[in-house]
């Protein structure tokens, strides 16, 4: 349940635009792109943002959720970032909070806070491919895209809108993924993810994610503000609109503990 990840992970990918040396294999080049995107997004420390989710079914009916996100960068080996998600709407789940400590290949640690009964519950994190609150985003789509979570293959260069993109295939190496592979378009200038195609367990195209409205924070960190996920098999879609990003406000690590989850609002 981690949203920053999305964004961050999304801001993934890398490769020094430096003249690629000699005979680089497609695997090496793919990974280098991912590493460069990751490198360019180091050092943001913590962030806060607001998120509006619009769920649309195949008849065009919509349903809206509003959430607040807080993320903490973690640079320990083997560990991913920490994040805290609090629901504001719909009203009946107002105050419900998710805490996630992500790990690279091990299962994440996740806790859920239920405000009506004031109860913090540790929950299983194996459900990576399940829907996040009924949306077209699954948990794994929203978790931080750490480099080592995937095996990469560079496919080709291709124009993406007005920009030029690397096209990289990545195969999840963590357990319980719902995907055989993903194809990612990364812009060559700033290493921002512009588009992702997700292939299901039968290797059929399942979903397409389009990222737009990129803005740069602290002169360094790019964040997409509009993410549109289309499920091509069901016709359903989910729109994410991020706003009010704040970086490096000094959020303490101790905020991201299950014991403090019940003090969240």
């Amino acid at each position: 349940m981690m949203f920053k990840p999305l964004v961050l992970g999304l801001a993934l990918a890398a490769v020094l635009a430096v003249t690629p040396v000699l005979a680089e294999t497609p695997q090496e080049k793919g990974r280098t792109i991912a590493e460069e995107a990751d490198r360019r997004d180091l050092g943001w420390r913590d962030s806060e943002s607001q998120l509006k989710m619009v769920l649309r079914n195949s008849q065009g009916e919509t349903s809206t959720r509003e959430l607040r996100l807080q993320s903490l960068e973690v640079s320990l080996k083997g560990y991913g970032d920490k994040s805290l998600t609090v629901f504001d709407r719909p009203r009946d789940i107002e105050g419900t909070a998710f805490l996630s400590h992500t790990k690279i290949t091990e299962p994440d640690d996740q806790w859920l806070y239920l405000p009506a009964v004031k109860r913090v519950k540790r929950i299983s994190s194996v459900n990576k491919s399940g829907s996040f609150v009924g949306s077209e985003f699954s948990y794994e789509d929203l978790v931080s895209n750490e480099v080592d979570r995937y095996a990469y293959t560079y496919l080709m260069d291709e124009p993406c809108g007005a920009l030029e993109c690397f096209v990289v295939e990545r195969i999840p190496v963590y357990e319980n993924s719902g995907y055989t592979r993903q194809v990612v378009w990364v812009d060559k200038q700033e290493y921002r993810i512009m588009k992702v195609n997700y292939y299901d367990r039968k290797n059929a195209l399942l979903k397409t994610l389009t990222l737009s409205g990129y803005r740069r924070y602290l002169d360094k960190y790019w964040r997409a503000h509009t993410l549109q996920m289309e499920n091509v098999q069901t016709g359903k879609s989910t729109l994410l609109e991020f706003s009010d990003y704040v970086f490096q406000s000094g959020i303490s690590d101790s905020l991201f503990t299950p014991q403090r989850l019940k003090r969240v609002r």
């Binding site: 769920l55 079914n57 349903s63 809206t64 709407r89 719909p90 009203r91 009946d92 789940i93 107002e94 299962p107 640690d109 009964v117 004031k118 109860r119 913090v120 519950k121 540790r122 929950i123 299983s124 194996v126 459900n127 491919s129 399940g130 829907s131 609150v133 009924g134 303490s252 101790s254 503990t257 299950p258 014991q259 403090r260 003090r263 609002r265």
Partner: protein, 403 residues
């Protein structure tokens, strides 16, 4: 009730002042209409035999938080009007407190609610708040508890200290209501071990932490038991009722959960003195979830818990959970409406009594929720404490609107 009105006035004044300061005021409310249906005729002649019992619930909430988020005032009163049970028509202050958050500590002063524990079928360790039994016989509804609670967050977990002035008596159905048992409880006859009665100040402490796949809590409580002994008493007018007696107890509790893949293993153990000889009780069980069943989005959680309680009922409150097995299933659809269904059964392994429950809920639109609860009993042994409820099967339908 006068105290209630005064508190309400004080809070309004506070909120007014708060509104004038920087920070954020958030007002919301839940209004719910409920109908309880009792399909069987009552077991006892002096019980009302209304089949349908409607009621109305109103729960507003005001929260003010300072601009820095360091301070928060919360006020959440609760009002319930019931057509048939005069004791269920009641008001409470669920929350009226000030929270201050420091870097590695926080403080709560006022009326609040605290939950401890991990198991699903019985909450043994959870002891701070009194049960609001008239709301729901499942014991999940709680009365607001006055408290000063200081929590220190350290590298080895959180240590919480609680001073609990002001005891809350358990609520019970009125003399003619359903779900009361063969004899009704007369709360006016309540007696206490503590010479200060309801004025006794209770204390509690808890240490909670997590490491790896484990979440652990260790707690201790000293004070007036939230569970009363119910003592058969003949009143001056010759009527026979149950008088609650609240003993002073010490209870130490441990709650433990291991989370490995889709399997949650849970344990709650307590040991208590003050209700006869020291005894031990536990709930131990598992929750295993099958995700995305039938290639769809829904999940099926399977639950099993064993309940044991070693108390001697001649000196301790009677319990339904002395040696019982709970099995249940939770079906979560993961749809836009957050539809879910929980069905469970508790089987008494000694006398064979079976208690069934089913709970379903679904959001309607953006600001409504529909809930259905059913409770049924079967094979109730005549000497089981549940015997008095054998004809009180019920189905409750509740529609909540959020503002």
């Amino acid at each position: 009730m006068r105290l209630f009105a005064r508190l309400f006035a004080a809070v309004i004044v506070l909120l007014d002042a708060a509104g004038a300061m920087a920070g954020e005021l958030d007002l919301s409310a839940v209004v719910a209409g409920e109908v309880r249906a009792f399909p069987h005729a009552p077991a006892f002649a002096d019980q009302d035999d209304a089949t349908l019992s409607p009621s109305l619930i109103f729960e507003p909430e005001a929260v003010w938080e300072s601009e820095s988020s360091a301070d928060r005032f919360t006020f959440q009163p609760f009002f319930h009007a019931d057509a048939d049970d005069s004791n269920r028509t009641h008001a409470d202050i669920r929350i009226a407190n000030w929270l201050h958050r420091g870097d590695d500590w926080d403080l709560i002063a006022g009326i609040g609610k605290v939950f401890w524990g991990v198991t699903e079928s019985r909450h043994l360790v959870d002891i701070v708040n009194q049960t609001d039994l008239v709301e729901n016989i499942d014991g999940e509804d709680k009365l607001g508890q006055p408290m000063i609670n200081l929590n220190r967050h350290t590298a080895i977990g959180t240590i919480g200290l609680f001073v609990l002035p002001g005891f809350r008596e358990r609520t019970f159905p009125d003399a003619r209501a359903r779900l009361r048992g063969p004899l009704s409880v007369d709360s006016d006859l309540a007696t206490y071990d503590a010479s200060a009665g309801r004025g006794h100040v209770d204390f509690a402490a808890r240490w909670g932490t997590n490491f790896g796949d484990w979440d652990v809590g260790l707690s201790h409580f000293y004070g007036t038991s939230r569970e009363p002994r119910l003592i058969r008493t003949t009143k001056a007018d010759g009527g026979v009722v149950l008088a609650p007696h609240y003993d002073l107890i010490q209870q130490t509790g441990l709650d433990l959960q291991n989370t490995t893949d889709a399997l949650l293993s849970k344990l709650e153990v307590v040991t208590r003195t003050g209700h006869g000889d020291r005894f031990v009780a536990y709930v131990a069980g598992i929750e295993y979830t099958l995700y995305q069943i039938f290639d769809g989005d829904s999940d099926l959680g399977l639950l099993a818990e064993h309940q044991y309680d070693g108390r001697d009922e001649s000196n301790a409150p009677a319990t339904l959970n002395n040696n019982d097995l709970f099995v249940g299933a939770r079906w979560t659809l993961n749809d836009t409406q957050d539809t879910s269904l929980l069905a469970g059964a508790v089987v008494d392994l000694e006398v064979g009594t079976q208690l069934f429950s089913i709970e379903a809920e679904r959001r309607i639109g953006d600001r409504m929720k529909l809930e259905l609860e059913g409770r049924f009993s079967a094979n109730v042994a005549s000497d089981d404490p549940a015997a008095g409820l054998r004809d009180d099967d019920s189905v409750t339908l509740r529609l909540s609107v959020y503002f």
